[in-house]
Symmetry: C2
Subunit: 361 residues, 2 copies
């Protein structure tokens, strides 16, 4: 029953393996294919890769080669080819963790574009651990990736590889940042709340490690100033802990309630924390949106189906992932010394649902 690989190879050779799909374990190599058609591996390689050098090969021979390749189900050996050509058609993708919402929507955009373009990617989660943040890019390099996409990840060191960073804001040589227009986002949210009559607005900032935290907050303060909305320190808190669950938003909201400075609206760092905050409010007997309006950020899948449905600022997450992939592949195609975009900006959108309402008189 269990033949050695060598045996099964020899045996099968006898029974005319030129026909149909090659079901045997071991794939056929170029050398074997060459022997089969009675030509040299060089010729086959040239023909199969449609090299201009093969222009002089008559079509009949080419057809013979193509047919044999199909017949024996020849597939070039990835490692051998990559070793020779120094191309792996592989990227590294670095994310904080794999979680619903922000990350997974961006990843979908990335994956759909990459696979369509014949690229694969290896994925690593740094879980906000500094040593992994340091380590994984090196491991990616060791794995011969052609570029790196970082999602919601602060990367500080300059890389020798091209990098696209979704929601990256540091200005680093070699990095293409894909960012939201945060000024517009802050404006949309604050205008919306102000338009509903809210003046005492509480804020939940993101965790320090979130790459959007600082820029978002700066934009909010700036737009608040312009709209003459006071940002009271006692109405500002920050997410703590690195769980991707609503729990951290829940705890943040509890802190806001504990400060007992009155407020009628909350602008949360993201939808997940908004959902946690709503839980805290309802536990405290404050109804959303009747007593407190809540606006989230991102417009993740679950936002629309939360109860109450979340008003939020939509980021085109899928598109941001796709843009990152596109930009990076373009850079790779252009070669390492070509100019490249340092910034790609996308626009936010206000999505009004049920968690915001006019301030009660």
């Amino acid at each position: 029953m269990c033949e050695t690989p060598a045996m099964s190879r020899k045996k099968r050779g006898g029974l005319k393996d030129g026909e149909g799909e090659n079901v045997s374990k071991r794939p056929v190599s170029l050398k074997e294919l060459a022997a089969h058609v009675g030509l040299s591996p060089s010729t086959l390689s040239l023909v199969l890769n449609e090299s201009p050098v093969a222009d002089s090969i008559p079509q009949a021979t080419k057809d013979r080669i193509f047919e044999a390749a199909r017949g024996l189900n020849y597939r070039p050996h990835f490692l051998a080819r990559s070793l020779r050509t120094q191309r792996t058609h592989t990227l590294g993708v670095l994310v904080p963790e794999i979680s619903g919402g922000y990350i997974s929507e961006v990843m979908n955009g990335i994956e759909e574009h990459l696979l369509k373009e014949g690229y694969f990617y290896i994925l690593a989660c740094h879980r906000h651990k500094p040593e992994l943040l340091d380590e994984y890019p090196k491991l990616f390099r060791d794995r011969c990736v052609e570029g790196i996409i970082a999602v919601d990840t602060r990367c500080s060191r300059r890389m020798t590889l091209p990098v696209a960073s979704v929601s990256g804001h540091e200005d680093i040589e070699g990095v293409t940042n894909i960012v939201l227009n945060h000024t517009k986002a802050a404006d949309l949210a604050l205008e919306h709340l102000a338009g509903l009559g809210h003046r005492r607005i509480a804020f939940i900032k993101g965790q320090p490690f979130s790459s959007d935290t600082r820029v978002r907050w700066d934009s909010i303060r700036e737009q608040a100033r312009q709209l003459q909305i006071a940002v009271r320190p006692s109405l500002v808190t920050q997410l703590e802990g690195d769980s991707p669950s609503p729990e951290v938003g829940y705890l943040a909201a509890k802190r806001l309630l504990a400060a007992s400075e009155p407020f009628t609206a909350l602008f949360a760092f993201n939808d997940i924390s908004a959902i946690g905050a709503i839980r805290a409010f309802e536990e405290a007997g404050r109804r959303v949106p009747e007593d407190i309006s809540v606006i989230g950020f991102d417009d993740v899948d679950s936002a629309a189906f939360h109860n109450p449905a979340l008003t939020t600022i939509r980021q085109p997450l899928w598109q941001m992932g796709k843009l990152a992939a596109e930009a990076l592949l373009q850079r790779i195609a252009n070669g390492p010394d070509s100019p490249y975009p340092e910034l790609v900006t996308v626009e936010p959108e206000l999505v009004v649902r049920r968690s915001t309402a006019p301030r009660k008189c």
Copy 2:
């Protein structure tokens, strides 16, 4: 400024690159390292890989080699090594899509275990398209992965590679299935509902493509029979469409309501569809849990923070991912002709929250 690789290599050679971290673009090869210590590449390879053949090499020489390797920051070329050894330390992971909930929790379990063990993986989403389901395993093979993990994915064809399938139920040679004890799960849910006095229970089955759909439903029917709970055809519907959003559950619930056969409880296929169903019920003026109790499945992150918090059957998703990774790596380590487990079973857990309540009299 922009030197050719050849130039920069020659130039740098001159300026004593033995010191500190090798910052230059091009990594140093074994041959270069060998030249640097004045030994042959063979010797270095033997020593660096701690081959028993290198036992006769004196420690002083070994130290010299190790030190040089560290000094020049030598890292073996992945492609070259893999080509020679026929090992890539890479798996392929096949998932329907990247979404919050089920998939991402399983993936976290997979990724944490794999990366810890020095494995990477390439990821592909088939999005339930038959042609991709066919294509990706082949592409994985072409990429020289050592095994495949399939998540919530029906794979029918026998593979030449070892496979671990999370929630796979087909009995295929070469596949290790990681499955939940669905009998227990159905029992927990139905006992819970029955215990609250519910007799008219509606059901939402999974989509046909979900690998758990059939087994889960069979278990439910069997346990319902045992508990003498009637399963009325008009109170059974099935998720339609392949969106990972609560939308599909919402639509299913609407169909149940439209059938106008009364019911006081719903057992949904998963938490996401339960959340959609709750939305449908509330829109129809039926309160959850006062009028209708709803129980979900999976216990995804958002279940606990939904409003009302979801009662559900927890699957140890993270652990299932980890088990799949463990089993597969073990199989790879044991070699292709060793026996392997065809089934690994994990236990469900009832998590009671706010979406279920005693039937009103």
